[in-house]
């Protein structure tokens, strides 16, 4: 239990890092669902990951004036 608590306390992710990891893992799942070949998986994962990140950063910039 102590080891578990130590691991939890040492696990730090920035907001961007968490978003990147979430986007990567969900992109892999979506690629597995929609593509049949290995090259298709890689292409779809990269495309989906890029779109996730681009749209997230875009929405973040759109919300920037609200946060000020």
């Amino acid at each position: 239990m102590l080891a578990s608590v130590l691991i939890l306390d040492s696990f730090k992710l920035s907001h961007f890092g968490a978003m990147l990891l979430f986007a990567l893992l969900v992109s892999v799942a979506l690629a597995c669902l929609t593509q049949r070949t290995a090259s298709g998986w890689i292409k779809y994962t990269l495309l989906s990951l890029t779109l996730f990140v681009a749209i997230s950063v875009g929405v973040a910039w759109m919300m920037y004036p609200i946060s000020r």
Binding site: V5, L8, H15, A18, F22, L25
Partner: protein
């Protein structure tokens, strides 16, 4: 087509009927086995993400779903996200439980991985709750894929 060749007419097609004796009859025993395999693969896929695809011989998809669901769930636990208990008084808690429990063995793994309990007072803990729920939702998509693959095989 050369000039000397006769055009194919409707009458000539009817003169040469298809030989149905060459088509093998459907094997009922194989169809029965496959109809049993579909729910079995779906249950296996719920218990261990990717196992349903593995039973149907889809190694790549099995690995992809296991890594995706496992990665989301374990990251959520490490971020100390909230794991919803089976008995909840409000409907959102019930929905949260259904989403969390859909990740199969990883839901029961939460008791070990998150021994210190959730901490949603920090943003990371709140994000972790979403990671854990997303793991279950991705596994539900994988289950529908398993049922689809099994149905296509049966047809």
């Amino acid at each position: 087509m050369t000039v000397n060749e006769a055009p194919v007419t409707g009458a000539s097609v009817h003169e040469a009927p298809l030989d149905h004796s060459s088509i093998p009859p459907p094997a009922p025993a194989i169809n029965r086995t496959r109809s049993v395999l579909a729910p079995l693969a779906a249950i296996a896929g719920w218990l261990v993400p990717g196992l349903g695809h593995l039973l149907l011989g889809r190694w790549g998809r099995a690995l992809g779903f296991f890594v995706s669901v496992g990665g989301l769930a374990i990251t959520g636990y490490l971020m100390r996200g909230n794991v919803f208990p089976p008995h909840s008084s409000d409907p959102f808690g019930t929905l949260g439980f259904l989403a969390d429990a859909a990740s199969g063995v990883f839901y029961y793994f939460a008791r070990i991985a998150e021994a210190a309990g959730p901490d949603v007072s920090r943003a990371a803990g709140d994000y972790g709750t979403r990671f854990i729920a997303a793991a279950g939702v991705v596994n539900v998509l994988a289950l529908f894929d398993v049922l689809g693959i099994a149905a296509r095989r049966r047809d």
